[in-house]
Amino acid sequence: MSDTTSNITEKPFWLRPPWIVLFDLIKLRRLRPWDVNLAQILTSFILEMKRQGYIDFTASGVALLSSATIYRMKSELILKLQEPPRLPRERTVDFIPPPIPIPFRYEYTTTTLDDLITALEGPLKIEPNALSTQYEVTELVSPPPILEELDAFLTEIDQHIDELNEKIQELLEEEASIPFSLLTIGLDRLDLIRTFLMLLFLVSDRKIDLIQDEEFGEILIGPPSGGSEELE
């Protein structure tokens, strides 16, 4: 707000901070999406427009596009499994016992030269293949980075989803429903988000159902409800 008065009056209000972030399309791609609090910016954008007494649909459209882009950037980062910035770390304070002095005990180890030779067999068998693939890979034109990232994520996520599903089905044998919080004890923020994303996959595969009675209330995980519609 320290711009000169003449400038302020000429420019529409949204070309000033904090709204400018949605309108500088060149910078948009370069910003850290975690730094943008979309809800707050959009709410104040609407309020400001109302206050000034007119609606500019072009500006609203651009704001919509930019918000969508930022959301997309956030989900891409999560897909790439990039850690969102941590909240200032609260280092848990707990009693840390003094280190225990461990005596050393020599142990006669049983590995012989024969074992070493036997162990050689596997690597040597794989070697020709492993080395030639490596060279093939480096000679190939690499796919666009986003595809690689998605591929890596998707191959891995299938496995994680299966594991999660197995665990849930096991728990559902004993309980009618499981609170989401039970699945996430001790998880950090990123793992929590990942777990939630995986639950959404499971819902869309109709492996489970999610129930949330009140806004911000506990999410319950239950078996898929027979003929019910897909969750919204």
Partner: protein, 207 residues
């Protein structure tokens, strides 16, 4: 690994040298050597029964008398090694802890520095404990510590959702002659920590 071949002398049997000894005491010396050999080779606490099996006896009393003789001979030497009797009649041969620091860098098997030792102490004290809790108390270095502790077989993990539940192993219990029962062990640990804390007023180096 086989024994290294000696380049010079001394391959002759030492037991044949003391010609004045009776055959009974020859047997006794041999028994002691067998027990010493068993303790050396295993590097873990052995029960009297196991020691007896090496001696070819089922008598725990006889096994005890032999291992106690070996222990005494170690005590009287004031060398770097000691034989310690643990509860439930188990015996172990080990380096006296005060020498560990001096030779740590030579050991082929990784020895724990005080950072991992603290993490270990914390896990032991709070177990079963979620890995993320250990990390938030001990800092992100603790990931490395946990990996080392697992490699050494002192700590084991169990998947718990996407994180890990950590606990100490029987190997850990054996090192300190702690109970294999979790509740009893934690009680024992508490009193050990009190002793250690009182005795070492100066803090040991940080991780």
């Amino acid at each position: 690994m086989g024994p290294h071949r000696e380049v010079q002398k001394n391959l002759s049997d030492p037991e044949n040298q003391g010609s004045g000894q009776t055959s009974r005491s020859d047997k006794e010396m041999r028994d002691r050597s067998l027990v010493e050999a068993a303790l050396y080779v295993t590097g873990r606490p052995l029960e009297l029964r196991t020691l007896g099996s090496v001696l070819g006896t089922r008598s725990k009393k006889r096994a005890r008398s032999v291992v106690e003789a070996v222990k005494q001979s170690y005590d009287s030497r004031t060398g770097a090694l000691e034989i310690v009797e643990l509860s439930d009649e188990r015996f172990v041969l080990q380096l006296k802890p005060k020498f560990v620091e001096h030779v740590r860098r030579l050991a082929t098997r990784p020895l724990l520095t005080s950072g991992p030792l603290r993490t270990l102490a914390y896990i032991a004290y709070r177990q079963p404990v979620i890995q993320s809790q250990v990390i938030s108390v001990r800092g992100s270095h603790a990931y490395d510590h946990i990996r080392i502790l697992e490699t050494m077989g002192l700590v084991e993990n169990e998947r718990f959702g996407r994180t890990k539940l950590l606990r100490t192993t029987r190997i850990f219990s054996d090192y300190f002659n702690l109970s294999h029962d979790l509740t009893a062990m934690k009680r024992q640990l508490r009193s050990i920590f009190n002793i250690v804390e009182k005795e070492s007023s100066t803090p040991v180096g940080q991780q």
